[in-house]
Assembly symmetry: C2
Homo-oligomer: 697 residues x 2
Amino acid sequence: MKLRFLRSGRLAAVAALFAAVAGPGRADEGMWLYSAPPRAQLKAKYGFEPTDAWLEHLMKSSVRFNSGGSGSFVSADGLVITNHHVASDDLQKISDEKNNYLRDGFLARTPAEEKRLVDLELNVLQSIEDVTARVNAGVPAGAVGDAAAAARRKVIAEIEKESLEKTGLRSDVVTLYQGGAYHLYRFKKYTDVRLVWAPEQQIAFFGGDPDNFEFPRFNLDATVYRAYENGLPAKIQHYLKWSAAGTKEGDLTFVSGHPGSTNRQFTMAELRFLRDTQYPYIVPRIKRLEVLLKSWGDRSEENARRAKDDLFGLQNSRKVYDGRQAGLFSPAIMGPKAAAEKAFLQQVGDRPEGAAVRAAFDRIAESSLAQAKIYRRYRLLEGGHAFMSDSFTFARNLLRAGDERPKPNGERLREFGDARKASFEQTLFSEKPVYTDLEIIHLAEALTFFAEIAGFDDPVVQQVLAGQSPRDRAAALINGTQVRDVAFRKKLYEGGAAAVAAAKDPLIELARLVDAESRALRKEWEALDETKKQAHATIEKARFAIEGPNRAPDATFTLRLSYGPVKGYVEDGKKVPAYTTLAGLYARNTEHKNKEPFDLPPRWVEKKGALDLSVPFNFVHTPDIIGGNSGSPVVNTKGEFVGIIFDGNIYSLVGDFAYEDVQARALSVDCRAIIESLKKVYGADALAAELLGGKKP
Amino acid sequence: MKLRFLRSGRLAAVAALFAAVAGPGRADEGMWLYSAPPRAQLKAKYGFEPTDAWLEHLMKSSVRFNSGGSGSFVSADGLVITNHHVASDDLQKISDEKNNYLRDGFLARTPAEEKRLVDLELNVLQSIEDVTARVNAGVPAGAVGDAAAAARRKVIAEIEKESLEKTGLRSDVVTLYQGGAYHLYRFKKYTDVRLVWAPEQQIAFFGGDPDNFEFPRFNLDATVYRAYENGLPAKIQHYLKWSAAGTKEGDLTFVSGHPGSTNRQFTMAELRFLRDTQYPYIVPRIKRLEVLLKSWGDRSEENARRAKDDLFGLQNSRKVYDGRQAGLFSPAIMGPKAAAEKAFLQQVGDRPEGAAVRAAFDRIAESSLAQAKIYRRYRLLEGGHAFMSDSFTFARNLLRAGDERPKPNGERLREFGDARKASFEQTLFSEKPVYTDLEIIHLAEALTFFAEIAGFDDPVVQQVLAGQSPRDRAAALINGTQVRDVAFRKKLYEGGAAAVAAAKDPLIELARLVDAESRALRKEWEALDETKKQAHATIEKARFAIEGPNRAPDATFTLRLSYGPVKGYVEDGKKVPAYTTLAGLYARNTEHKNKEPFDLPPRWVEKKGALDLSVPFNFVHTPDIIGGNSGSPVVNTKGEFVGIIFDGNIYSLVGDFAYEDVQARALSVDCRAIIESLKKVYGADALAAELLGGKKP
């Protein structure tokens, strides 16, 4: 599952396994289930009591983008609004040599001009049903391990099939609280979706990487679609009324969307592993790779083109990891986490499961320490950091395919399982361009990194370098291997282990040289992971027994409700105001002399005089969000649409393992800026009128 | 001493203490003394026998720039040629609001237009006299330590004074082979020097950082001065005849210049320390700082301006350290070093001093291991990496000045000695701008780095952070300190320790918190350095006794002769040709769409049609050079000027500790490109005629 949030890939998707450890009553934390909304918290802190109707309306106005993101209905005639960066793949797919809608934007002036998208599916949640009892009943008493899992899969499949047949709705059983609860989610689907309006990518992502995860911001990160049914605009009962007035600082806001995954169940021992072992390895590594690609890219335009995607990914990762590392070093983040863990251990202490829970915490701590000991070597060898290049990936996959495929399915390494065969082959036989020069640069850096981290005198380093310098060895390997030839890969894959051995390809032989140690490290690593997983299940079961649904479960890319006020913050002793304005956009453009990525689309230069520059553009607020929330509607207490989530600031990046509301903020596009732009820049008066009026004018 | 080489600051000046360990007969290594030229090597390998007249002529045509660089006489009427980047400070000093000669270049069309420089002194070596016997005789038998050193200083001063009085020439006694020999160098001085021609900086340093230390290159890195005596152009007997034909691949070339310092005496133990301890710390640190400043600079034009100098310095250092690390990981570099060390130990083994020399090697190895143990903490605390910011430097200097100044001069930390007082105060009271925002960014990064390297749970890290995150703590410290106020610094400096304590400045108190441990680390570090220094003296004495002047001593910023052929090389399996052409300049400019730093001065765009684009522009050859060689003349076997050294490639950066000629190359501007540019781009026909004819036309 690809989670669109911020920009696709800006936040890596991490499997959400367990639920949060944050103590009760902490700030406005929580991505809440619609079936267990935070009524008490809202009433106590904000004096606000959402009615069932309010909740149902917001739930049914919320839209899940199966491509990985969120959105909402904003007119009775089927208008759906989401982020431009959620829509970008759709825009790419309908663009051609003549029309680059992603870059240049689009406006349908009549219904006939609305452009049907290629393969987008929208889901709208209709109901939530607790099926925990039935799921648990489906697992025979005493069943454990695989048998229990198989029984559970069977009963879940039955429930889903039965519901689909009965209701005609897409029906998914969702696992919550690491098995503490099972809920049946039913969705209405829309598969005929058409493009109504998109701005230019330049204004949607104004400021590019330098402003990524930052605030103040000036992004018109929005796109409008229309859902159709039976060839006509869908008639929508539940859609959000557009607020003409918008918000002001201090207003309570709600975010209704689909956060992808969180890891708030991490114990302090696991956070220390991140802080003391993983991040001190990852953070400098990302930066050295960024420097490598940036400086290599600066050498020529063609180099820059070849390195561009990887470089953007590294810059994005660098911000993510810097932000998370800052969180791990922040007492404001880690203090409450430690206190909550301590409180939970005390709370559970007197209960019958107390000893088992304490033992589970200990096992996680021991496993984390054991992983810390092998971490670097595991990443270097099995993670491939010592040989990082597309060529090495091809070489190792060929080697291992030869060794793994003759084994029974169940005994193979995961990625060689029958279920993954098609996608494995698609990757192995990919025709994507692999550049020899960039491969040498990458492998030389990787071998240098290997020698630096493992030590030059390490016997494996010496064997790998084979008497050459990292750069010479990289050039010899990359120039000597045939794996960049698709036909060669096909031949070896089909020929199996014997053909692989007979080829005597230097890079495959390098992969073979380290394969035994690499596999051993993986085995050890995964065993420790399994130990942690089982320990977490023990802990979460005890926690759910104590807290029940009074705590939001970790994110699962299903609909959740978050809340919090519009609120500026303080950075380096200076106040960061909650709102930017259109005037700020032009000021930032001027400050950067219209240079990329701070340049404006021509239309925005021409129409400046027509705009009310005091209109709020982007704003910050405190709701608990994460990757997958991109495009989520922001509503006020009246349930009116006041903005759209598009990013988090740098402090929000700790959201994977902790929530804070001192500096962490969600970033949204203000509803007023969307209307002002549609009217004054895009001449889209009819669309603006439909949004403001809630139906076709 | 500031060594101009490449760009000023591109290669750091490191004190040259000892001589090289490279075995005899290795390639073309050596920065040879004119008093002991490599006659045997040249004859054996190239069949070339330089006559005494040939050597004297080249020696007396060579010019030392006391600002840190090299050059040569190229006409009977006093023309001197050097690099544009050696001249850049001079050009800056004579520029004003109206005339930016550094950026825009300059041409004097008549002698009257030649612009006198502000404070440049040129030295021309006239003679070398071995005074070893007299120096050693001046040291009483049995004198050791300070007494011996004082006696040696006294006799050297006598020799210098006597020579000056007798000859009227600047007279310096130079210590070679770590005391193995003492030579008296006499120089003729020129202090009236005038600017004749300089190109635009854009063409002198075309390609900027991306092309720095790279090849192919396209730099017109040359500037022409004229030396005057008694208000008239100096009449020069020894000047280099300009070659109209230039060189071709394979031609033997000589470089006559002033290499600043080398450290080829490093033992394998010291090289392992660099490889296993120092570089794995420094290389990632430089890269993270580069990423920090680059990404912060991208946020605004003003940020970029503020970060620019530091960023260029980091980019330059990154290439230097990457290049040297590559050397440390290269068997081609380290193999011969190891073999030479082993050979020397065998050679010395049977001699009476054998045991002492072996013990000296052991002491160096032990000291290096001991330094490795404390290295990171030493750099973090005493090196200030944990608090890197101008504000912290002010704070610590104020704290230590208060503690050190009341002590007797001899007991103070070095930088607080009376001899350094004026320059210390100049730095402390500097009015240079210090930006609060950049200071916070720097300190936050430094505190993060400290927590990452020393570990977050380290007691000192905890005391330093004082319960805040690195970023919050940095903001609090930088916003809270008064040390950026010059008047405050003056007040505390004058008030001494009591005033410093009374101020309770948060950053000074932070410096105080770590001062005891920091001083202890420094004491331990310097004691180990002293042990190594003494051991090196033992080794070098033994080496000189065996090898004598058949080995070139380490560089001392005195005139040396290097040699080697014009020769391309192979990089990543691809041939890099020895020459570039003017056509290549335009191709590279087009490839980069005239974008900075690949943009051309307007004149070069206009005059393209007039140029013979096949003229060679820059070339690579193998002579042994290093920082200080910038501007050195390159001559052929006839002693004719064929080019001018301006850079080394990335592989040459190991030159500090090793010479190789497989990929390491010196980079020179071809004499033919200089003439072609003068005639066709600058309309400087008279100057071109004087260069070609050797006198004013």
